[in-house]
Amino acid sequence: MANGTWRIARRGGTQVPLVIAAILSVVLIVGGKTHLLPIERIRTGITDRTAPFLRTLNKPVAAVARWGGGIGHLLDVYSENQRLRQESAQLLQWRNVALALQDRLKHYQLLLKAAPDLSYTTVTARVIARSSQPFLETIVLDVGRHQGVRPGQAVVDARGLLGRIYAVGERTSWVILLNDLSSRVPVAIRPGNVQAILAGTSASAPNLEALPQNHGLKDGAQVVTSGDGGLLPAGLPVGVAVLRGSEAKVSLYADPLAVDDVRIVDFASPQEQMPKPSDGELPRPTTLAPSSPQALDEVAAPRRAISVVTGPTSRLTQSHPPGPSNAVSVRRTPTSPTISSEAHPRQPVATEPPPQDADDQ
């Protein structure tokens, strides 16, 4: 067959399938972006089935990495031992100080009737795979729906927040790391409690975005989760702020390349429950002409009071009638600076403190 002939024949043979395949790939991209395609389910299904293989394969890899890293440490094992002993003694002292401060904090919380920290439990998991692809910072864990893992849960290592669960299979789950391009986590920067969004950039240090103007951020400021949105618990350590010119970045505590075991924080912020309205608070059908003067008196009668503190020496009291009437009577009475809200009583919150690590005992 002459060259010119086969070239034309080949073009005619591949053009249509190529165009169809290109259209399908665009559909894939759009479907993936809009989450219309069950790509995550397919992924987790594959990792569920290959998990034993990945686990087996990961063992020699981890052993080789440990062995390779161990050779370097053999040379300075004595000085390392001395340094660790010294550090251990210092940490024991700090532990005693921390326990004393924790007791004192609990005492103050009781005195102030402050809402204690929300409680949460954790699930321990092992890393069985790490992505080594551009545009992607993920790890795969050996626990899934079967162990109670759900999308959105925080994943921490011994040092701090590592990322969030984003796809869950029966026995495996995918974690999106903090430096992944898709990662956005609300954080607070201490001191000052400056609120910001931690945005992954595929680099090792993610950016701090949505910072307020004149934030006064300084190098080395502590970055923790803010708990906004109720998905992640507040106060999980994330890293320290690093200022590079006009950019604010975060040097993360957690190291996804070195970590083998992680904990998944089973946390769900309890939703604020509105008090159930009483029968008197529900709107009644309006009548254009009351049937009797007695009905008018009933509508105008006060049923409940909301007291709001306005200053150290006065209390503003509003009396709401329960009916359709919007009449409000206001009177000032001298009183002490107390707060009371009879209409919206505070909901009780879980009182157990976060569980401590076995290492901390």
């Binding site: 395949a21 991209i29 993936g32």
Partner: protein, 169 residues
């Protein structure tokens, strides 16, 4: 179709799928510093030039889709990138197929660069921001270097299992 010819027909696509599986193993010889090479792309490039009749667009689509699913990135990213490279090879097959020695390696590097550039553009659109180029450039470099090692293997498969003759297209 005889069993041997059937096996020969599926080897190119199978080698691409094997490349996908190997690329996505949780093993990194560089402790994660350099992304895994695109082994699947090597198969797509090689068989698209040598036996395009055994590497149809549907085969490239399947390989790209498998890469997307196993890699965990945006769906369709590598599918579209591999197909873009395939379309380029389809139009310039004679030019690339006639290259030899260092020229053949440069030809591969050029098409791999085109594929990675397509992936980068798609990632920019997908994430609404420009991701850092360095990981992709490192992956490109690793892919080109690995192609030197993989090329004799692919040549061996072609000569021993599929047949020495170039396709009639």
């Amino acid at each position: 179709m005889s069993p041997s010819s059937l096996i020969a027909a599926i080897i190119p696509v199978f080698s691409g799928l094997l490349g996908v599986a190997l690329s996505n193993l949780p093993i990194s010889l560089t402790a994660g510093a350099v992304p895994a090479p695109l082994l699947a792309f090597m198969a797509v490039y090689f068989w698209s030039l040598v036996r395009p009749d055994l590497m149809p667009p549907a085969g490239v689509f399947l390989i790209g889709l498998t890469q997307d699913v196993l890699a965990g990135g945006p769906p369709g990213l590598w599918t579209a990138s591999f197909l873009a490279a395939y379309a380029l090879l389809d139009r310039q097959r004679e030019a690339f197929a006639s290259l030899a020695g260092v020229g053949a390696l440069l030809g591969f590097a050029l098409v791999a660069f085109f594929s990675c550039a397509t992936a980068y553009v798609i990632a920019c659109v997908y994430f609404y921001r420009a991701p850092p180029m360095m990981p992709l450039l490192l992956q490109l470099a690793a892919t080109v270097l690995c192609y030197i090692l993989v090329l004799p293997l692919l040549n061996g498969i072609q000569h021993r299992l599929i047949g020495p003759l170039r396709s009639e297209f």
